[in-house]
Symmetry: C2
Subunit: 362 residues, 2 copies
C-alpha cells in the first residue's frame, strides 16, 4: 500500500497558506522521503501551491522515476539549490514568499538560494513544519514501525545465547548488526551500544575491546531500520546471579517505565510522562542517577519529536510514537536501562517492542 | 604517538591572523577531532589567539578529560552554542572578529550564536580552513590510513569465497560489514555497496534482495574506519568465464586507473588526474559510460578535499590522500569500477590499498 503522499503534501500546503507563504523548500532526506517517496541521498523538494518539484542528479534518474509520487522530477546537472532558485526566479511574481528550514539549511546554502532566486523571492525561516507532521504517524506507518520493533526484538532474543564471559563488546555489537542484516533490516538505526560491567554506567558507551566477565551487567541498546522506519530497544541483563542491590535497581527502573507507560496518552504533556518515570525513581532515591530524559519520538529518524523531558509542555497526540527509556547509572558500578517503543492513543499506550522485559540472569 | 594537536591549532591561528580574525568556532566533529582529539558526538570548539576551548555536555566529562589536548574543556548544561557565545560576550573587546564555518552552521545556529555573543562580536563566514589543513596529511595520519587501507583490502580478500551464485546482495554486504568489525574496524566508512549483474551499472546501488547468478559481474565498494581514518576500496569480479567485451572493459578501466596513478603527483592539477583517466576511456570509446569523477580526498571523512574532477584547477600537494576510481557503467548490462587509495608525493604516488587488481573470474 502506498503512503498517502498527496495528502501529506496537501497538509503542508495548508500550513504554508496559513503562514501566508507561497512555497517551501526542504533538503532534509527524511522530509523528502515522507512527502514524495524519494529515498536518494541528494534531493531538493520545492512544494508549490499546485504540485511539487523534486530536484536530483543523474545518478537517481531511474530511482526517482520509480519512487516519486506527487512531485515532478527534475534531473539537474550541477547545484540542486541553483536549480531550485532558478525555478523560483522563472515563476516571476507567482511564488514570492518561500519558506526554508532554518534548522537544516546552512548559511552557505541559503546564500546560494538567494543568489539563484533573485531578490524578488523572500526567503522566510520555517520551524520544522514537516517534522511536526511526521510526529503523528498514520496507520501505514504504525504497521511498518510495528514490524521494525518486532524485528529488533527478535534480534535481541537471537543474540542472548552469545552473551557469555569472554566475548568483547565490539564482537557482540558486530554479531547484533550482522544478525539485523541477515534478518532483513536495511541496517542499524544507530551505532549499537554494548556495555559491560562498569561501562554500562555510560549511557552512550561505544563498544570497546572490553571482555565480559562473570557477575556483570550487560546493556544492549539496538535499533534496526526496516523499510525506512526505525526501532530503538534497550535491555539490561546480568551474567551470573545478581546481588540484591542490582535486582532492586532493575525493579525500580522497570517500575519507572511502567509508570511512564501508564501516564502516556493523548492530551497529557510530554513532561508529565517524564515526571511519571522520574517520580518512581525519586521514591526509590535513585532519581539523581537518572541523568537523561525519559524518551523521544521515533519514525523515519531515530530521534524525532516529541521529546519526553522535563519542561516539555506540548501535549502528546494520538499516533505519536515514542521511546520509554528510564535508566539509572552509577559511576564505577554499572547502569540499567529498559527501553521500549510505544504508540500514543487516547487510552492505553500500545507497546510495539516485544522482547521480554523481566530481569534476566544468564 | 600523539597527533600534533598544538601544531594544528597553531596553523589555524596563523590562518585566522592572516584574515584579520581573532577567533574561530567549529561544530564539525572531524574538525574538532583533528584539532584537539575529542571524538564525542556533541562539541563546539572555540579557537582563540592563546588556547582553545571545547564545550561539550556531561555525558562526555570522562571522555573529554581523556581525549582532549591543547584545549580547555567546558562541560555545559544546555546549549553549547549559548555557552560559546557567552564566552565571547564575556571576553569583552578582546575577541571581536570571529569566524564561523558557513558550509556547516545552520541559519538557526548562527542566529543562536549572534544572540548569545551580543552585537559586539562580528561573525564572519570562513570557507573550510580546517578542511584545507586536513587535506594534507602528516606522517602519523599516513600510517593510520595505510593500516585502514590494508584492513579494507584484507576484508575484500576474506569475503571472496562467499561470492557464489545464490547469495543475495544484502547478505554479502552483511558478511562484509561483520568481518570488518570482527577484524577490528570500528565500522564501515559508508554503506557497503554490493551490486550484481545489471545492478552493477548503478554507481551508488544499495544492496537489494537480488540473488547472484552464474555469469555475472559483481561490484563491491567497501570502506572501513580504523582509529577514525577511512579507507575506500572497490573491486569488480566476474562469476564464471567472462565474455570478451567484459574483459575488454575491465582492461580499459584498469588502464584508466593506471594512467591516473601515473599522472598523480604534487604540483599537477586535480583536473589533470581526472583527464588522464578519462582520456584512456575516450581512446576505448568508453568515456560516455564514465559518469562520475575520478576520485576524492579521504581521511577522517570518506569524502574530503581535493576532488579529482574536470574543472578542478587546484594543485595537488604532497600528502594529499585520494581515491582513484574510474568506472564504466552500461545500463541494462553492468558496470566495472576499480578503486584504490593513493598518497600524493613529489614523485610516484604511493598506493595504500593492497587488494589484487587483476581481473578475477570466480
Amino acid at each position: 500500500m502506498q503512503p498517502p503522499y498527496p495528502q501529506r503534501l496537501a497538509r503542508i500546503r495548508a500550513l504554508l497558506r496559513a503562514s501566508k507563504m507561497d512555497a517551501c523548500l526542504t533538503l532534509h532526506r527524511p522530509n523528502i522521503l515522507y512527502l514524495c517517496g524519494f529515498s536518494g541521498s541528494s534531493g531538493a523538494l520545492l512544494i508549490e501551491p499546485r504540485g511539487a518539484r523534486l530536484f536530483t542528479d543523474s545518478r537517481y534518474t531511474i530511482q526517482a522515476a520509480d519512487e516519486v509520487h506527487g512531485a515532478t522530477v527534475g534531473i539537474v546537472q550541477g547545484s540542486l539549490l541553483a536549480a531550485a532558485g532558478d525555478r523560483l526566479r522563472r515563476t516571476g511574481a507567482r511564488l514570492r514568499r518561500v519558506g526554508y528550514e532554518d534548522s537544516r539549511l546552512t548559511v552557505q546554502q541559503l546564500k546560494q538560494l538567494r543568489k539563484a532566486s533573485g531578490a524578488r523571492v523572500h526567503w522566510l525561516p520555517v520551524h520544522s513544519p514537516i517534522e511536526r507532521l511526521r510526529a503523528v504517524k498514520d496507520g501505514g506507518e504504525i504497521v511498518l514501525m510495528k514490524e521494525a520493533a518486532e524485528l529488533g526484538s527478535r534480534v535481541f532474543e537471537h543474540v542472548l545465547p552469545l552473551i557469555k564471559p569472554g566475548i568483547r563488546e565490539f564482537e557482540l555489537a558486530a554479531e547484533i548488526e550482522y544478525r539485523m542484516r541477515r534478518m532483513g533490516a536495511s541496517g542499524p538505526a544507530f551505532e549499537t551500544i554494548v556495555a559491560f560491567g562498569e561501562r554500562s554506567a555510560l549511557p552512550h558507551a561505544r563498544p570497546s575491546g572490553r571482555r565480559l566477565r562473570k557477575n556483570e551487567l550487560v546493556v544492549l541498546d539496538l535499533g534496526v531500520i526496516l523499510r525506512h522506519y526505525c526501532c530503538d530497544l534497550t535491555r539490561t541483563v546480568y551474567v551470573g546471579r545478581a546481588p540484591g542491590r542490582i535486582r532492586g535497581w532493575y525493579q525500580a527502573v522497570l517500575e519507572a517505565q511502567s509508570a511512564a507507560r501508564h501516564a502516556l496518552r493523548a492530551g497529557v504533556t510530554a513532561s508529565q510522562v517524564d515526571e511519571a518515570a522520574r517520580s518512581v525513581l525519586r521514591k526509590h532515591r535513585l532519581d539523581r542517577f537518572f541523568t537523561h530524559s525519559t524518551g523521544h519520538g521515533l519514525g523515519l529518524e531515530v530521534h524525532e519529536e516529541p521529546r519526553l523531558a522535563a519542561g516539555q509542555k506540548q501535549k502528546l497526540q494520538t499516533f505519536n510514537v515514542v521511546t520509554l527509556e528510564p535508566g539509572v547509572y552509577v559511576e564505577g558500578v554499572g547502569g540499567i536501562r529498559i527501553e521500549d517503543d510505544a504508540v500514543v492513543t487516547p487510552g492505553e499506550a500500545q507497546i510495539l517492542t516485544t522482547a521480554q522485559r523481566g530481569f534476566l540472569e544468564l
